[in-house]
Amino acid sequence: MKPEELRIQFPALTRSVYGKKLVYLDNAATSQRPLKVVEALSDASLYHNANIHRAVHCLASEATDLYEQARESVRAYINAPLKENVIFTSGATAAINLVAYSFAEAFIGEGDEVIVGESEHHSNLVPWQIVCARKGAKVIPLPVDEYGRLVVEILDSLITGRTRIVCVSHCSNVLGLVNPIEKIIETAHARGVKVLVDGAQGIVHCDVDVQKIGCDFYAFSGHKIYAATGTGVLYATKEMLDILPPFMGGGEMIGTVSWEGTTYADLPYKFEAGTPNFNAAVTLKPAIGLLESIRKDEELTQSSELVKTFVYQRLISNSKIHLYGTADNLSQKIPVFSFTVDGAHHEDLALILDKMGIALRSGHMCAEPLMHRYGVTGMLRASFAPYNTMEEAEYFLACLDKAINMLV
């Protein structure tokens, strides 16, 4: 399939802004929604709407079936052993907060340590700061070097007898580098330390086989892989999910409830308190279906690679531009490009490019410590999806030059 054929499925990509064709390059923040995902959401809301896992009536069983089919799609896609390993959440942030809270209750005490990658976005840092503050534990950064590479070689020396968990992203949302998570997991596990992988970007651009990766936790959002907003997944090993206490109480997470005490439901429901976002969760099935077909499509893969290489080469060879997150081998780089321009503020560039029809992100990208690391107040980020064409990449680079000339 050509990118042009894929684009047809996304109504937003046919629109204009300020009289210019929309060029959507903010895919790392959220992808656009394909028609069939929106149809699945509206179909579930309009015709199969009943609270799941409760009533015996027809609608309730249809709604429950759709919800569980979505869970099975996720399970199969990430190759989790059982549906019990797949917890639905409202997004990657909620999934990580769940782990942080429950893991801290079970394993983190005073004087303990949690190692967090220096390039993590706030969602994989702040939850750990919160639980560590509560437990009297410490958050230790695993540094990145000037190229944006996690300095994995020192991980072993950072791990102490008090280290409980290592939390890193599969790919940084700023640097766009694929982190060597297998190596990290191997190092941590050899020392008896658990690993959480934030897959918010990884699930979009990498093949994810949780058993092969060997992580204890893998978290991601649905809205970055074409599903409805408010959907998310936590994969965790059964060993962990059996030990961890629930994060929230109420709804169908119970076994029996009495004043004397309450028992909890079996997995995965133990961690799905309250009424889940079941109408939206249904969209994970068509979304994953699309993601899978995109990743299997040779023509699309080839065009994405060409666009990525073209943009990377052009940005890195421009002396006015400083690109963060560089790699010798572009197979280790996802099409997420964060950069600064000498003499031009990221906000000014984003404002001007917006008026040229180009949507991209400016600011600290929810990763302030990383901005401090590189001594900047913010960056500009262009993030591509398989539906972005070479023509769009060329237009973006031409407009970027034009915007720079207006400012510098």
Binding site: Y18, H345, H346, E347, L351, K355, G378
Partner: protein, 121 residues
């Protein structure tokens, strides 16, 4: 529509470039306007019962916007500024098409100018 906007930006960039110097030592936390993506500092002095503003920003378009605002409000009495409805911002088309985050920046600039005026009434 597009060219019209670029013209506006060109104009704001010019305004920003021409804004008078703002001393480094005045770039303090308490002069920083919260709610903008870029950093904007605003200072005000009272002379003969009138307010005179100076400002700076690390982003040039924002600097142009604040320059426009203080150009309009500098030299007026605190009472005038405090009771002004700032409708000129909409009249010149600055507010339209600004997304919430950016509008917040503009809103924060306006509310800081108003607060400074109220403090001096």
């Amino acid at each position: 529509m597009y060219d019209e906007w670029l013209d506006k930006y060109e104009y704001l960039i010019e305004l920003g470039k021409n804004l008078g110097d703002f001393p480094e030592e005045k770039k303090t936390e308490d002069r920083l306007i919260k709610g903008c993506q870029s950093r904007v500092w605003l200072d005000c002095e009272v002379k003969d019962g009138r307010l005179f503003f100076t400002a700076d920003s690390d982003a040039i378009i924002t600097k142009g916007i604040i320059s426009l605002l203080i150009g309009v409000y500098s030299g007026r009495t605190p009472e005038e500024i405090a009771s002004d409805d700032f409708s000129f911002v909409e009249q010149i088309g600055l507010k339209e098409n600004l997304s919430p985050t950016r509008a917040n920046g503009l809103v924060s600039m306006i509310s800081t100018i108003k607060q400074l005026a109220q403090r001096n009434v």
